[in-house]
């Protein structure tokens, strides 16, 4: 940086000096760390005592300057003030780099360090607030798709969860403001219970390398953080309103923060999302509306050497499940799959009828930190999370209003971390312990056998991470973690299943009590898992970085993999777990070449991963019942290998033109070289941003996504006799849908209302050409097309 300054200075001094006071100085203020523009920074021209604020693009202008040295004082709420002396000679442009001092200002945000020093050598991708705001009406998984190598696994259009490098559900760990999100992450149709509007930054780590948070992130980690709060007297907030044509609904989200120089602060945030039935290009998708209500409160005290924060958040979502997806056995499946249109299409409605989900997630959190002499920074956190999940089915008579699934998952978690700086060159040691107690309660009033049993789980973990700068260019990192997990369950088995699995011989000691055709058992399982990560980071020069890392992750089997036993209504299949499962162990080696630059930025990220005892859920047989034939899906263990490549290129041929190209491929096989199920097909995403400065910074964005047909998939089709037609027919559950090409378009314009207020108006068109398509990773692809064109308007007001 200093070199750059001297170069600039030399250039300036070499100019011919002349007395002229009609020069314009144009400046831009950006964050030194990640080159984000800093909006609302105050720039004071010393001597003249003129002050301006940077606009939405971080830019400011001073006119009528003479040819001489001027001192500019640049300050921003999140940065320490800096002064620069610049020689103005003719119309001059200059970019100022300010350093964010979030750690010093806001130590209490325990996860504040997550993105800059949590993993030195792992592949991290960051999504910033500006992008997050565009997804105000969408889900976390929708937002994460903007990272190459991250896709989503959907159940219809409103329930989706992220897939990182081909892996999802219990293999992807979500950390929200320093706490692991403890919702019911095992199910494919269980979306993460998190409001995107409550977060201001997301980091995706494609690997298990963030050992501070978990050792079982076989797929990767998603770290979300809420707003940082400045230590100064201020009150600020923002409101986003979005209205959408598809679903005839919208979102309103608001937040307000009051903070004081003393370090005291309070913040409140709330979101309402309401949508009716969505539609595909050709028909209404009946019963796909949703209603989401979220609120969060945060208050605390921030001092330089200590701080305390308390927070509460409430998330509630009622989601309709596509009516045409509600089926009986194989005969219904054949009829639904072979029909080009859904077999149930009704008129548009806002009503959310059965089948539906009602999910509530509450988090109570208390954070504290203290800087201790010599030892470093001590963080303590306690959080209590309560997740309530209700699933309503289409039922007979009085049962209509009784949930078929009624689960309450409560978790108490205590974390203690210590971060010790070893020397002035940046070497550090981080270590900590965490304890967690979890209880799952399955309400027996449902009149449906429990899918997930009652259980108590206890976890204790200890970790340590060491990072050393070997020289100016080379950083070494090593970390290790030990997790103890005990799960004490009370599970009812059908006697017929218990005996067919030979459990009566293998686990007779687990039986507690026998009922008519069921037995109560008490599986008590203990898993001790070791995980670790090590890596190297090599800075080739100011622009280029090479990273090589290895991650060892161990994941204990989840309740679904262990205890499933019975009909999963929403999937119209019988799912069977296995009590004898052991943890799966993953070894992932990833390489990352990163080039940062004004005109060309490049990220090249290949990986290879071996997972021992990888749990897969696959069809194994067909079961005859009074409701007809049902496919039986059983969990089994295999040794899987996955490899892939993510590429992300950003090219800026002109100052106002940016072209971004992403490419992602992942391949995975089991130990008999059969492809793994539900791996994302190859995808190409292209985004072109063009800014017209003369038209008040009007920004045009054109996005083209090409998704290939998945050509590698396991054949899970099965033949059944359909008595009504007297024929054997194939239930084609495996053939992937064709490739498709989607175009999205966006126009947005920032408007400066006053010094502290900005308004951003945007018009979005998704699926511009109203293409009918089906997505391999949407479980409802059998029954209906995906979403048609959506036109939306978004108004964003910062104050």
């Amino acid at each position: 940086m200093r070199i750059l300054f001297s170069v600039v200075a030399c250039l300036l001094f070499s100019q011919v000096y002349a007395q002229d006071c009609s020069n314009t100085f144009k400046g831009k203020v950006v964050d030194l760390h990640d080159n984000t523009v800093l909006v609302g920074a105050t720039v004071i021209l010393a001597g003249l005592e003129q002050a301006v604020l940077t606009n939405i693009n971080g830019e400011f202008t001073f006119s009528n300057l003479c040819i001489k040295d001027y001192t500019f004082q640049v300050s921003h709420p999140f940065c320490s003030t800096k002064a620069y002396t610049i020689k103005v000679n003719g119309d001059t442009n200059k970019t100022f780099y300010l350093e964010h001092h979030l750690e010093e200002l806001n130590e209490v945000a325990l996860s504040g360090k997550a993105f800059n020093s949590l993993t030195k050598t792992a592949n991290e991708s960051v999504i910033k607030k500006e992008t997050i705001d565009n997804f105000s009406s969408k889900s976390l998984a929708d937002l994460l798709e903007s990272v190459s190598g991250v896709t989503k696994l959907s159940t219809g259009n409103s329930i989706s969860k992220p897939i990182i490098n081909g892996l999802h559900s219990s293999r992807v760990v979500i950390i929200n403001d320093g706490s692991r999100l403890k919702d019911q992450d095992w199910g494919i149709e269980h979306a993460p219970n998190l409001d995107v509007n409550s977060i201001s930054r997301v980091t995706v780590i494609k690997g298990a390398n963030a050992l501070r948070y978990s050792g079982d992130a076989v797929g990767g980690l998603i770290i979300t953080e809420s707003n940082k709060i400045p230590v100064k007297d201020t009150i600020y907030g923002s409101t986003i309103l979005s209205l959408h044509s598809n679903g005839k609904g919208g979102t309103v989200s608001s937040n307000l923060t009051q903070s004081f120089e003393s370090g005291v602060f309070a913040s409140v945030q709330g979101t309402l999302k309401r949508f009716g039935d969505f539609n595909s290009p050709d028909y209404n998708l009946s019963n796909t509306g949703f209603f989401e209500r979220d609120v969060s409160l945060k208050f605390g005290l921030n001092k330089f050497s200590y701080g305390v924060t308390g927070s509460y958040s409430y998330f509630k979502n009622s989601v309709g499940i596509l009516r045409a997806s509600h089926l009986g056995g194989a005969s219904d499946q054949i009829a639904a799959i072979s029909s080009p249109k859904p077999l149930f299409i009704d008129d548009f409605t806002y009503a959310i009828n059965n089948p539906k989900q009602e999910v509530t997630h509450q988090v109570y959190r208390l954070n504290a930190f203290k800087k201790l002499n010599k030892l470093g920074k001590l963080n303590v956190q306690y959080n209590y999370q309560k997740n309530k999940r209700l699933e309503f089915d289409i039922r007979r008579g009085d049962q209509e209003n009784v949930a078929s699934v009624d689960l309450e998952l409560s978790s108490h978690n205590v974390l203690l971390d210590l971060e010790t700086k070893l020397n002035s060159t940046g070497d550090y040691l981080k270590y900590g312990v965490s304890l967690s107690y979890q209880n799952n309660y399955a309400n027996p009033e449902t009149g449906v056998r429990r899918l997930i049993p009652d259980y108590d789980a206890f976890e204790a973990s200890v970790y340590g991470v060491y990072s050393a700068n070997l020289n100016d260019k080379l950083t070494f990192e090593f970390g290790s973690r030990l997790d103890y997990r005990n799960i004490d369950a009370l599970k009812f088995y059908r006697i017929s299943f218990w005996e067919s699995r030979n459990y009566d011989v293998l686990f007779p000691h687990l039986v507690v009590q026998e009922y008519d055709n069921q037995i109560l058992t008490n599986p008590n399982l203990t898993f001790v898992n070791l995980s670790g990560a090590t890596g190297l980071e090599f800075k080739i020069d100011d622009f280029q970085t090479l990273k090589l890392n290895y991650g060892l992750a161990s994941r204990a089997p989840n309740p679904s993999e262990l205890f499933s036993e019975g009909l999963h209504h929403s999937a119209s299949r019988i799912e069977l777990g296995d009590l004898s499962f052991k943890p799966e162990i993953s070894h992932k080696i990833a390489f990352n070449y990163e080039r940062k630059g004004e005109t060309l930025a490049f990220n090249f990220n290949p990986f290879i991963q071996f997972v021992n005892r990888f749990k897969v859920l696959e069809p194994t047989s067909v079961e005859q019942t009074t409701r007809g034939n049902f496919q039986v899906w059983s969990y089994r263990e295999t040794n899987a290998k996955l490899y892939g490549l993510d590429i992300d290129v950003t090219y800026k041929p002109l100052k106002n033109l940016e072209i971004n190209q992403q490419f992602a491929v992942v391949k995975g096989y089991d130990d008999s070289n059969k492809p793994l199920i539900s791996l994302p097909p190859v995808a190409l995403n292209n985004t072109i941003n063009y800014t017209i400065k003369k038209l008040k910074q009007l920004k045009l964005t054109l996005q083209n996504n090409y998704v290939f047909e998945q050509n590698e998939f396991p054949n899970t089709n099965f033949d059944v006799f359909v008595p009504t037609t007297q024929t054997f027919q194939t239930v084609d559950l495996s053939t992937p849908p064709s490739a498709y090409f989607l175009t999205n378009f966006k126009v947005s314009m920032p408007l400066n209302l006053s010094n502290n207020q900005t308004l951003n108006v945007g018009l979005f068109v998704d699926n511009v050409f109203n293409i009918s398509y089906r997505n391999y990773l949407n479980r409802f692809r059998y029954y209906a097309d995906d979403l048609g064109r959506n036109i939306s308007i978004q108004i964003k007001f910062n104050y």
């Binding site: 219904d332 289409i394 007979r396 299943f497 109560l520 009909l567 019942t625 009074t626 409701r627 008595p723």
Partner: protein, 183 residues
């Protein structure tokens, strides 16, 4: 300061884990909507003392045990009156689900189908509140000597009226198949 922190942590932990041990066993859930048994009684219209009973029983529901099926034989060129009953026999006394179907007769319909070689036809004789066929009671007419399969399907929320099972849609609540002969 440090000791206070540690003490508070211990207190939190104590609170957390002290309330976790309750030794009350959970109650088993008996599937309330489960249909374990389909019982079809076919009575000879001209000789009421002669009847054939077909039953399909699967007491473990979607568990691994195979169903127990009692098939039957019918006289050629004979008219039978049929009734079907849906039972949950995991409860004592058995729960008669047929009553629930009758209560919501507009949301249900019973369909019958026969393999091509089998000379039997069946038609519903009862109707729902909207005068659409319900099918819990039906006429069952046999023709010449033959054998094949007879399938009975109960649909929940089918499109009503309809021209038959193929355009009825809805969800299959019952689908049972019997081997039958006309002798």
């Amino acid at each position: 300061m440090k000791t206070i922190k540690l003490l508070s942590l211990v207190a939190i932990l104590a609170l957390t884990f002290s309330c976790s041990s309750d030794d009350v066993n959970p109650l088993p859930v008996n599937e309330e909507e489960l249909i374990t048994t389909v019982k079809i009684v076919l009575t000879n219209s001209t000789n009421l003392s002669e009847s054939v009973t077909l039953t399909y029983t699967d007491l473990d529901g979607d568990g691994p045990d195979a169903p127990v099926i009692i098939n039957g034989n019918f006289n050629a060129n004979t008219n039978y009156t049929g009734t079907v009953q849906f039972l949950n026999e995991t409860e004592t006394p058995a729960d008669d689900i047929t009553l629930e179907v009758k209560d919501e007769d507009d949301e249900h319909q019973v369909f019958y189908s026969f393999s091509n070689a089998l000379n039997i036809t069946a038609t519903a004789t009862d109707v729902d509140v909207n005068n659409n066929p319900l099918g819990l009671e039906f006429n069952f007419n046999t023709g010449a000597v033959s054998s094949g399969t007879f399938t009975l399907v109960l649909k929940h929320e089918p499109a009503k009226p309809n021209t038959g099972i193929l355009d009825a849609g809805g969800e299959t609540d019952v689908e049972v198949t019997f081997s039958v002969s006309v002798i």
